[in-house]
Each structure stands twice: as C-alpha cells, then as structure tokens.
C-alpha cells in the first residue's frame, strides 16, 4: 500500500505517529527512570549474585592457575608450585585486606575456612615470596588446615568465576570434586521450606476464598449505603500498619493471649492445656489469611459488581430455585474474580516475610525468612540471591500455568 504521495503507507503511518509516541515516552520517563534505578537494576544485580563467584579467582589468580594442574581426586596434597603461588596471592590480598572476605566466602562451603584465613593472615604477612621459599611446610606449620587435601579441593571446586554452587545449595545440594551431590542430611532444610511455603500459601489462598466469597457477594448485592459501610470495614485493616495488625495477632493468639484467656475463662480449655496457636503454622495461616483477605475481596467484589441482577432474575423467572440460580448462573460468572483474587493472594503470600517472622516461630516460617537470614545475618548473599531467583521462577511458572488454564484475560482486577 502506498500513501497519496507515493511513500509506503506503513512508513507514512509510523511518521505520523512518531510525535505521539515520543510524547508518551516523555510522559512516562520519570517513572521509567525511577523504576529502572530503584527496582530493575538492583534486582538484576541481585539475581546476578546468585551465579557470580569471581572473588576466588580474583583474589588467588596464581593459585587457581597452579591448581589447574593438580588432580583433586588423587588424594595427595598439591605440589610446592601451588603453595608458592598461594603465598604470592595472599601477600597481595592481605595488603588489600581481601583475604578475610575470601575466608568468609569459602566458609559457606566448608566451616572453619574463615578463621583459617584470618589466623594465617597474620603470619603470612611476614613472609617474602621471593626469598623465604619453599612454603609447603611453613604453611602447614602456620595452620594444619593447609595440609588437608579438602582445603585445596574446596578452593579448586569453587574457583570458577561463574558458579552453579549457590543454586545447588538452594536445593539442598553441593558442589564437590565428584560433581553435584546431596547435602548431608542435617543440612537439608531448604527444599522442605520451599514445600512448606507452597503448601501454606495454598492453604492461605483457600481460606481467603472461603471467607471472601460471601463478603464480596454481600458487598456487590446490598444497597449502596450498607455496602459502602461494609466496604469501610473491609478496608479499615487495609489502612492499618501491617506491623500493628501482626502484633495484634500476637496479642490474640499467644498462650496468655485473648483467645486462650477467654477459652480458659469459659472453661472450654483447661488452664494447663492452653492451645498452641502461635509460633507455628496455625499462627502464620491465621494472621496471613486476615492480612491478605482484602486482596481477595476487592477483585471478587469488582467482578461480582458487574454481574447484572437481571441474570439471576432471568434464571428465577425460568423456574430455577435460589441454589440452582447461584450454582449454575451466578457462580460461573464470578470465577474470574476468584481467579484474580487467588493469583494475587498466592503470589503475595509466597513471598511474605514480616508476618511469618513475627507469628511463625520456627515451624511457621517461609522461604523468604530464610532469604532474609542469609541477607542480613549469615551474609551469604549468593545463596540468598539463588533462593530469590528460584522463588521468582516458581511464581512466573505458576503464572504461566495459570494463564494456560484460566487465561489471564479472564482475570479482572477492577
């Protein structure tokens, strides 16, 4: 197709729309930049940390090279060349104060490495790599860890600048000279935590559906004045601080809390057999259902609001009872709302952190609490990033499955 002046129509159209597009881009650019620098860039760099492992090869470049000729499966200590290279690397690293960071990094893989590096640092500083060799025996003298084959195996296994080690750790496995293997039994907790997170999120989503459906129905069908009042009750907790609400649940649920005291006072529960409903899964599920309920009610309500009353009237005029009308006519049309609410609640709860931290104890915590632990306490950011990446992957996968089954076009959020 050609435009009136002979240029291709597509080109002509693109030119006429260019100004419009530029203006639109200009309008969103502040937000775009903000999101870029405050959200996308940090997340991308965090995700990259899950595979990034340049610290070993950067701090010990000569050692890594020398270790290349060493057969880690032979069971013998590496030769003098490796020890010589190691001392040269370490002297520079100690000058730059980088050796302790390397120690912490390797400590994630083998406990004790951190103190080994720190203690050896003091003695190694005095050595001159040019004149004081050979170093093999001197090093083993300084710390007998340097005489352990395992130490060198760990350094070699984790010397690659890009590693899958963190991801293996995240699914309860580890990198060994013999390839990926399962962690020792007592260290396997992450898969269980992932499973628990998924299961509890499902339970929370389910209980939200059950509680939200009747409320949304009332909101959508009651007269305006009453339903506005109800809506305020729904939104009131929404406007209250999350911490306040979670703490309130702590007050409610603890052994000396409101619920237990009331039950004991009523004589329904013996004083010495108070219900344990906090610091476990029940606590997390109860509090999170309450906190996430508005996210279920609002999409349900907005969908139900669009179902005209004439549908139910038509069904009744044709002879359908109230139940048939609900089940055959009303419910099928409200499913998009259930879908929208469920996906919202499920995705929110799968990454929830504060509430399980406060009311979850040890049995009711989520994978996100573990991520937070590695970010702020153990400082194993690589593992935290790997866990986060997996979580993100799971959410995207579920979203995709959901789109295949329900169809994301059928979801209405308002």
């Amino acid at each position: 197709m050609l435009a009136a002046d002979g240029t291709p129509l597509k080109q002509s159209l693109a030119r006429s729309l260019r100004r419009q597009k530029l203006r639109a881009l200009l309008l969103i650019s502040p937000l775009l930049l903000f999101v870029m620098f405050s959200f996308i860039v940090p997340i991308a760099s965090m995700l990259f940390r899950s595979v990034e492992n340049s610290i070993v090869s950067e701090t010990l470049p000569l050692t890594v090279e020398a270790l290349g000729n060493w057969d880690e499966k032979s069971g013998e200590l590496p030769g003098e060349d490796v020890y010589d290279a190691f001392v040269r690397d370490m002297v520079i690293a100690i000058d730059d104060k980088k050796h302790t960071r390397l120690g912490s990094r390797l400590n994630y893989e083998e406990t004790g490495m951190s103190s080994m590096f720190r203690r050896s640092g003091r003695s190694l500083k005095k050595l001159d790599p040019e004149t004081d060799g050979p170093f093999k025996d001197q090093l083993i003298e300084i710390h007998d860890g340097w005489g352990d084959v395992k130490t060198w195996q760990v350094i070699k296994t984790h010397s690659a600048p890009i590693t899958n080690g963190y991801f293996l750790n995240a699914v309860d496995m580890q990198r060994t000279p013999d390839g990926a293997q399962a962690q020792p039994e007592d260290k396997q907790i992450l898969i269980k935590l992932f499973g628990r997170t998924l299961f509890m999120s499902l339970v929370i989503t389910g209980s939200c559906i059950l509680l939200a459906y009747p409320v949304s129905y009332l909101l959508a069908t009651l007269p305006m004045r009453v339903s506005n009042m109800l809506m305020i009750f729904v939104l009131l907790p929404f406007w209250t601080s999350l911490l306040v609400r979670t703490s309130a649940w702590k007050v409610m649920l603890q052994q000396q809390g409101v619920i237990n005291e009331t039950l004991v006072w009523l004589g329904l529960v013996a004083d010495d057999a108070r219900l344990v409903i906090i610091n476990n899964q029940i606590g997390t599920i109860t509090a999170m259902t309450h906190i996430l309920l508005p996210f279920m009610i609002l999409p349900m309500y907005s969908v139900m609001q669009t179902i005209p009353i004439t549908y139910t009237r038509a069904a009744k005029s044709m002879g359908a009872t109230n139940w048939t009308t609900f089940w055959r006519i009303y419910f099928p049309q409200s499913i998009p709302g259930i879908g929208a609410g469920s996906i919202l609640v499920f995705i929110l709860s799968i990454g929830y952190y504060i509430t399980p931290e406060i009311v979850g104890g040890t049995k009711g915590v989520f994978i996100s609490n573990r991520i937070a632990y590695h970010i702020s306490s153990s400082l194993n950011w690589g593992l935290a990033a790997a866990l986060g990446t997996i979580l993100l992957g799971v959410v995207l996968l579920l979203y995709w499955v959901y789109d295949k089954i329900v169809g994301i076009d059928n979801v209405k959020l308002g």
């Binding site: 004439t310 009237r313 038509a314 009744k316 005029s317 002879g319 009872t321 048939t324």
Partner: protein
C-alpha cells in the same frame, strides 16, 4: 372489588400500592385486569411506575398493599421461580457462559425434563425465531437483534401462559426494532399467550398492543385500545404523551351537550368537545392533533370558528409538510399536511386563518 374484578381476568391487580422507602408511593392504587390472550402495553415516562408493576407481577418486588391475582390465585406469596411466568429483559440477560442452546435448555432442565424432549423443544423454539442454525454459538457472538430473538425464544420455550417484556427492543436500531415489533406481536398472537409489555416508546405501544395503559405518577392515566388512546385522550397528560399535540389555554365560555365554546387567553373563541370540563368559567387546555388542523377554508363548516395564524417555519419532511405557526400566543403550534399534488406550501411570514372540526378539538383539564 369494583369494576376491575371480572371472572374472565387472567392477570389482575387489585388496589396495588408500592413504596420503597415508606414515604413515597411509586405505584398508587393500581387496578388492572387482563383477559387471557391479551397483549397489554404499559407505557409511560421513566419513573412512572410501569417497570415496578412488571417486577411485582414477576415476583421480584413485593406489593406494599393490595393483591395481584394470576388465573384467580393470589400470587403475592409465591416466589418468582414458582410463578411460571416467561420474561424478556431489556439487556436480554442471556447467560454469557452458556451456548444459545444451553440457554434455551436451562428452563427445561430446571423442570427436570428429559434430554430428548429438551432438545426437541429447544430446536422448535429456535426455529420459531428463525435462529435454528445458531444453537452452538455463544451470546457474545450474536448481534443485538439475534440476541433479542434468543431471549424471546428462551422466554417462550417452557410454554408459559404469561410473558412479561421489559423494554425488550430498547437497545436495537430503528429498522430492527420495527421488524421485531411485528415479529413479537405475530408470535404472541399465534401462540395465544398473554403478554404484558413495558415500554416508553409510544410508537411501539400503538403498533403492538391490544390495549395500552398509560402510566404517569404511579397511576394509570388511561387504559384503552391504541386508536382510542390517540384520538380520544382523556386528559392532557395522555394527549401530550401520545403523538404530537397542540395545546391552547383558555376558559370555558359555554357548554351545550357535546360541544362547548372556549375563550382562549388572547380573547379569540373556538369550538371543542368537553371532556374534563363541566361548567362555564373553568380553566381548560384544549388539544388538537397537528394533522387535524385545516387552513383550506373550503373544508371547514361555514360557521366554524377560526383563528389567525402566522407561519413561522416550513419544514419539508418528504411525505408530509410541517409548519410551525404562532397561534393565539403559542409559538410552537404545529400543523401537518400530507404532501399531496394539491398541497399548499406556505412561506414564513404569511398570515392565514386556521380552523378545525369541533369534534377534533378536546377541552381537557387545565
């Protein structure tokens, strides 16, 4: 009760009142009786109470006072799904998650009808509205007119004796609406069903109904067959609401049986039929249809009273000529003449004399 009660009545409203808030009556003292097989239209402006009446009959609203009888039985306490009344809604209310055939089978299914019977009836109903090939479509894939037909078929498929229609043609364009008007009346008469039809479109009411009930302010202003409604309106609301109408204000000078003399506010005098006036001195609004006004003196009685008129505007409408004139202080006086070979075209500014036969001019309430 009074004259509304009759043995032949199939649907009957007896002194029905309805209030939503306990302060305002939306329906005030409604008495109405329909014989079996009648096509009755409730016509009125929005807020006149006509839809409320329909909803009370269907069972979606309860009467605040009074009794509604269906085939002699009071139905106030029967829930809608047990009334067996077919209903067509303004927006069709076809279930979007079911196919056309499933929509039609629904009323049969809830009546626990067997599958083969169901299919036969659905097919017959679809053929009846000439939609036989559309059974497997979804309502969203149909045009407005097709959806309308399906809604009609669905209301008829379980063979109700009474069908209610709530402005069913409101969403269609003019041509389709006219076609469907004909279609609905044909079906209603063929099947012999009693129909209560609600609309605010007077053309629809006039062309379709056996009788029309004109609603205003919660009351039936007039209940009559279409021709009577148009030609013999009983009060000025009906005269204004149905068709185009000219009104002139005045005072009754004298009444003599079936005619009366009216002095208009500018002093001129005209003849009229007294309808809502009974004695000289009363204020009145006289009503004349635009097509009954004559300005060809030869067609009037020799002794007929005439009025001076100034032509303000001439509008050519194809089949008719339409003049806007200034008559007795009313600048919106409309006169229509047929576009016949001998028709006169008057130009704006021309001064003429107009008149009419006394029986075409009705003296109504002020």
């Amino acid at each position: 009760m009074t004259e509304a009660t009759s043995d032949a009545a199939f649907v009957e409203f007896q002194r029905v009142q309805k209030s939503y808030d306990g302060e305002i009556l939306v329906v005030k003292d409604l008495n109405l009786a329909l014989p079996k097989g009648e096509f009755l239209t409730m016509l009125g402006p929005s807020g006149s109470g006509k839809t409320t009446c329909l909803m009370m009959l269907a069972g979606f609203e309860t009467a605040t006072h009074g009794e509604i009888l269906l085939d002699g039985r009071p139905i106030n306490n029967i829930p809608p799904h047990k009334r067996g009344i077919g209903m067509v809604f303004q927006n069709y209310a076809l279930f979007p998650h079911m196919t056309v055939a499933e929509n039609l089978a629904f009323p049969l299914e809830v009546r626990k009808m067997g599958k083969s019977d169901r299919e036969a009836k659905v097919k017959r109903a679809l053929d009846m509205v000439q939609m036989g090939a559309f059974g497997s479509r979804r309502p969203a894939q149909l045009s407005g007119g097709q959806q309308q037909r399906i809604a009609l078929a669905r209301a008829l498929v379980f063979e109700p004796e009474l069908v209610l229609m709530d402005e069913p043609l409101g969403a269609l364009d003019k041509q389709l609406r006219e076609h469907m008007q004909f279609e609905i009346t044909r079906l209603a008469h063929e099947l012999g069903i009693t129909t209560v039809y609600v609309t605010h479109d007077q053309t629809e009411a006039l062309t379709m109904s056996d009788r029309v009930a004109v609603f205003d302010d919660g009351r039936i202003q007039q209940l009559a067959p279409p021709d009577q409604l148009y030609e013999e309106p009983e009060n000025s609301f009906v005269a204004q609401f149905i068709g185009e109408n000219n009104t002139l204000e005045g005072t009754v000078k004298s009444i003599d049986g079936n005619t009366c003399l009216i002095t208009l506010d500018d002093g001129s005098e005209i003849d009229a039929v007294p309808i809502n006036v009974s004695q000289p001195g009363e204020r009145t609004t006289v009503s004349i249809r635009p097509e009954r006004v004559e300005f060809n003196k030869d067609r009037l009685h020799a002794d007929a009273h005439t009025l001076k008129a100034t032509v303000k505007e001439f509008i050519y409408m194809g089949d008719v000529f339409r003049f806007r004139m200034s008559v007795a202080g009313n600048d919106e006086f409309i006169v229509k003449t047929r576009n016949a070979p001998d028709a006169v075209r008057l130009n704006p500014g021309e001064e003429i004399e107009i008149g009419w036969l006394p029986q075409d001019c009705r003296a109504l309430d002020a």
